[in-house]
């Protein structure tokens, strides 16, 4: 289905602009009118990370007149494998500032508005107000649901993309869409597709599971493609469609996404009528893991002390690293054994645990080890503990000679 252009054309293009955008202007579907619409457009990009990097660069190059960047983080060396809007000399600098500089280097003719803050319930509606389109490149479920809901309340179309390892998904959520006859398009929102987030820990993040760098470009460029179509009214955008990309098979598939009449946000009897507590809705750790970790979390400094005592023979315990084998190859706490978290969840690990000494669990940051701790405690190992901050804290505080990731 096609939709009317989101944005009215600007009055004119300057001589410089005509020269710069000439390859757009000679495409009949864009032309002078389409380029003037882009010039008048205001697009807000959430996150200048994996998806935000290519999205911002291409939106800027395409001549979207006003770009917004919401980003609170700083550039880390581990970002540079995929976040191509930042460079080596940007490490340690605010991503929002680095992104703005890259965008303005590509296209000095556009305006860039920077929001150097973390999106939350208090600021999201104020920041979103007045933008024509939201492009989402955030990295967690809580923010995704918040962006979806805020965009819905303000009737702003939401171009969504998501990535993990070799898999990507993209869609455009716009429940207020009307077709060219002014009738409701019965288009879905993000909650129609995924009514609830997965329980914490079940679906790993990119930081835990990894992401192929170039996948960001594959999905980020789909998002920009859809944004340009929406702004100019060209073609058929991914409204009510889900694009699934499998980079290993090199296959794109387009599936139908229907409006859910029972949707909590845009359905007939909506129960979400204002912003909700998204952290509680999505959770950072499961209730079981939080309960298990309460009072049973030690620091890396305590662990170092315990390991020393174990070496001297005055204490005994088993230190279990619950990460994956390829993470264990990168860095490790000396004296640990590797049993991945999945082995705890399916019960296989319990047979490998000694009954006569305490168990100490750790992972990368402390989330996965808390989940494994819940399983271990549930199996009767009441004195088991886990290490807060995991191997990241170990490398930072105890052994900076090891690499972090």
């Amino acid at each position: 289905m096609s939709f009317p252009a989101l944005v009215e054309p600007a009055d004119e293009l300057t001589v410089d602009e005509v020269r710069r955008y000439s390859r757009h202007l000679i495409i009949p579907d864009v032309g002078m009118t389409g380029q003037k619409r882009l010039k008048n457009a205001r697009v807000l990009v959430i996150g200048a990370g994996g998806l935000g990097s290519p999205a911002l660069l291409y939106l800027a190059a395409a001549g979207v007149g006003t770009l917004g960047i919401v980003e609170f983080d700083e550039v880390d060396e581990s970002n540079l494998q995929r976040q191509i809007i930042h460079g080596q000399s940007d490490v340690g600098r605010p991503k929002a500032v680095s992104a703005k500089e890259s965008v303005q280097e590509i296209n000095p003719l556009i305006e860039v508005v920077v929001y150097e803050e973390r999106l939350d319930n208090d600021n999201v509606l104020g920041i979103f107000e007045g933008w024509d389109l939201i492009v989402d490149g955030t990295d967690n479920f809580a923010t995704r649901y918040m962006v979806n809901d805020a965009a819905y309340f303000l009737k702003i179309p939401y171009v969504w993309g998501s990535i993990y390892r070799f898999d990507g998904q993209a869609s455009v959520f716009w429940p207020h869409a009307v077709d060219e006859n002014g009738e409701s398009a019965e288009a879905p929102c993000y909650r129609c597709l995924y009514p609830e987030p997965p329980p914490p820990g079940m679906v790993p993040s990119c930081a835990e599971g990894g992401v192929l760098g170039v996948l960001c470009a594959s999905i980020g460029s789909i998002q920009v493609n859809e944004a340009i179509k929406m702004l100019t009214g060209a073609g058929e955008p991914l409204v009510g469609k889900l694009m699934i990309y499998d980079a290993l098979e090199m296959e794109y598939r387009k599936l139908k996404v229907r409006k859910d009449p029972k949707c909590a946000l845009c359905g007939d009897n909506a129960t979400v009528t204002e912003l909700i507590d998204y952290e509680a809705f999505c959770g950072a750790v499961s209730d079981e893991a939080a309960d298990a970790a309460a009072g049973s979390t030690i620091s890396v400094v305590q662990l170092e002390h315990m390991l020393k005592e174990r070496e001297e023979g005055t204490r005994d315990f088993l230190l279990v690293d619950v990460r994956e084998p390829n993470e264990y190859e990168i860095n490790k706490i000396p004296g640990s054994v590797l049993i991945p978290k999945g082995e705890f969840l399916n019960g296989n690990a319990l047979g490998q645990l000694p009954a006569d000494k305490p168990i100490v669990l750790h992972c990368k940051s402390g989330v996965r080890s808390a989940e494994a701790l819940a399983v271990v405690k549930g199996a009767g190992y009441g004195d088991a503990v886990h290490v807060g901050g995991g191997v990241v804290a170990w490398v930072n505080q105890i052994d900076p000679s090891q690499p972090s990731y």
């Binding site: 990535i163 993990y164 079940m202 679906v203 993040s205 290993l248």
Partner: protein, 92 residues
Amino acid sequence: MSVSVRIPTILRTYTGGASEVTATGATLAEVLDDLDAHHSGIKGRVLDDEGDLRRFVNVYVGNEDVRFLDDLATPTPDGAQVSIIPAVAGGC
């Protein structure tokens, strides 16, 4: 009825890394049972403890979300493609 089932990356630990496997069954419920018989544990990632489809996993038969067809009773004709699409949040 033999159908092909598309396995997303995060569930490929259950299929020995295979991105597509075949299964038999006249309905989605039967296909999932058959899938689990050969790839133990995978059904638990798609269905909750009550045996209903998890709310953060979508299952498509062909081009249609089974939540808008007959859920687990959705027919799976011979040669159909079943796709399991889990929610993914990564963007960083």
